[in-house]
Assembly symmetry: C2
Homo-oligomer: 355 residues x 2
Amino acid sequence: MIRISIDAMGGDHGPDVVVPALATVATRRPDIRFIVYGREEIVGPILARFPKLAGVSELIHCEVAVRMDDKPSQALRNGRWKSSMWKAIEAVKNGTADACISAGNTGALMAMSKFCLRTMATIDRPAIAAIWPTLRGESVVLDVGATIGADAHQLVDFAILGTGMARSVFGVERPTVGLLNVGVEEIKGQEEVKDAGRMLREANLASMDYRGFVEGNDIGKGTVDVVVTEGFSGNIALKTAEGTARQFAQYLREAMSRTLMARLGYILARSAFNRLREKLDVGRSNGGVFLGLNGIVVKSHGGADANGFAAAVELGYDMVRNRLLDRIEADLDLFHARNPKAASLQRSGAETEEE
Amino acid sequence: MIRISIDAMGGDHGPDVVVPALATVATRRPDIRFIVYGREEIVGPILARFPKLAGVSELIHCEVAVRMDDKPSQALRNGRWKSSMWKAIEAVKNGTADACISAGNTGALMAMSKFCLRTMATIDRPAIAAIWPTLRGESVVLDVGATIGADAHQLVDFAILGTGMARSVFGVERPTVGLLNVGVEEIKGQEEVKDAGRMLREANLASMDYRGFVEGNDIGKGTVDVVVTEGFSGNIALKTAEGTARQFAQYLREAMSRTLMARLGYILARSAFNRLREKLDVGRSNGGVFLGLNGIVVKSHGGADANGFAAAVELGYDMVRNRLLDRIEADLDLFHARNPKAASLQRSGAETEEE
């Protein structure tokens, strides 16, 4: 049995999308159980429409809901201990749930997750990992925006975290890993990327096939299973890809309505176009996974529909099923056992890093 | 009359693509003159096939050609004073040409351009600007990879350089400008982006409509005419967009050949698809413009066909015609006259920056 805690009040559409999504998942994964946090008078009636779902769910009333435009500090001040978002995360901490899913605002969810679950022992900072559709299937890209900047040790941590995720989500035994870099040689800067590359090569972990540097266009090609970068570049890469995909979809619509022949062609090929549209949902369908915390938190896209939210729930389910946290902890232990200096350096770094 | 110096040996296809491209441009821009640098025995026979072009061109023999895989330092060592790339740049320095176009390797072209032309008086570092197709037309994005990292002063310089380019290429009197950033608030880091924003707002230049921060997805939307960022993020954004566009094209091909109906639809809509393909050439068609140097250098994409190289030549032509350098110099003077402190800070920064 896998128990998932749900923040029913998050996202642009709240329980209207969340509850139907859970109903879908409940029929597909019979061993799933839900603890649903939200306002009883709103969530209760929607839940009642899905008797099967209601049978595997417990609804817990929360007076407070974090708003989509709350700043992280506001959300912590007003929503800690009592909001549906906090309660859903806390269920993971208390062990009443195995993973938490929310479509609420990213900054608030990250702030609360860090505060409640804390980072893993040897990890300075959590990362947000996205599942990126590629020409070869899917890749994990991280960090896509948890923190700006990362030193070499943090990039190595991200590589280990991302590897654990790729193993537990894609079922690849030894995922290929690349560090995102720019192609021009002999230029200054980004020493941390080069240092991280050296450390990964030297560590030579059994669970990770480190392949060196990759460039922006390698993400879409699917050159590696895990693409590692710091949060600023990662966020810009993700958003730029989203923008380009939307641009392409718009061009396509325009092109296909310009002439009678094109319109006729469009009608004939409609199912192909629909398939195409699904494929292009870069970063929208599953949202982000928070890695490096003592618990699994999945952030569904705020604008996700029921299919999108269901995908996020199933992603959380799969990571629990495939023992994501155990895998990550084993890899971290192995890395630090082999690199005691790195571990101590990292700890001292962490102290100066915290405020 | 506008005189363009051409490195005929650059690019994956060399003079086979370069010379036919020049022939096209010569018919479209009757007041253009070319100084073509390359190996006479190779370029001469191709030029002879285009008598009209030969009439407006001077071919100057260069024994040495920079290779596409030469490192910048190698290229400088082996190609300085004598290669077709160097000679084409030097023609701009000597005033025998108004702009230089090369499809040769980016690192080598930038190293030689910096060495030969030097940066403008108040500019620390040159930037590479890309013309980015958007839903609203085109935008200038810089820096897409000249240097990794940029402080606030350098970002302000890039904003002024990009504004000059948008004015002279798009003919917009007061281009809108945005600084690329990530959306999450209340996170550490990227102080330089915030500082640059403050400086641009305070400077309140007549030629620039500064609009604040933009995110990755705003590039494709065309939210602003000029997107400013440092070279690492800029390069990753550009390459990621290229990757996504190529991914989309591949998905489209697959989708349109899967069923008989889809294939029939494709045939009917073929011209619409061809138009679409052209639109998606993010960063390929025109290549990059080197800004911040005492002279105009345009880098055409190495894999460009004759149309692509012709577009790069016409871009150089347009920037000369519309007095790009004068506009930039006037804006820089205005900015530094109003911000004498910024100017002196910048100069001292430049000293510590240089090796």
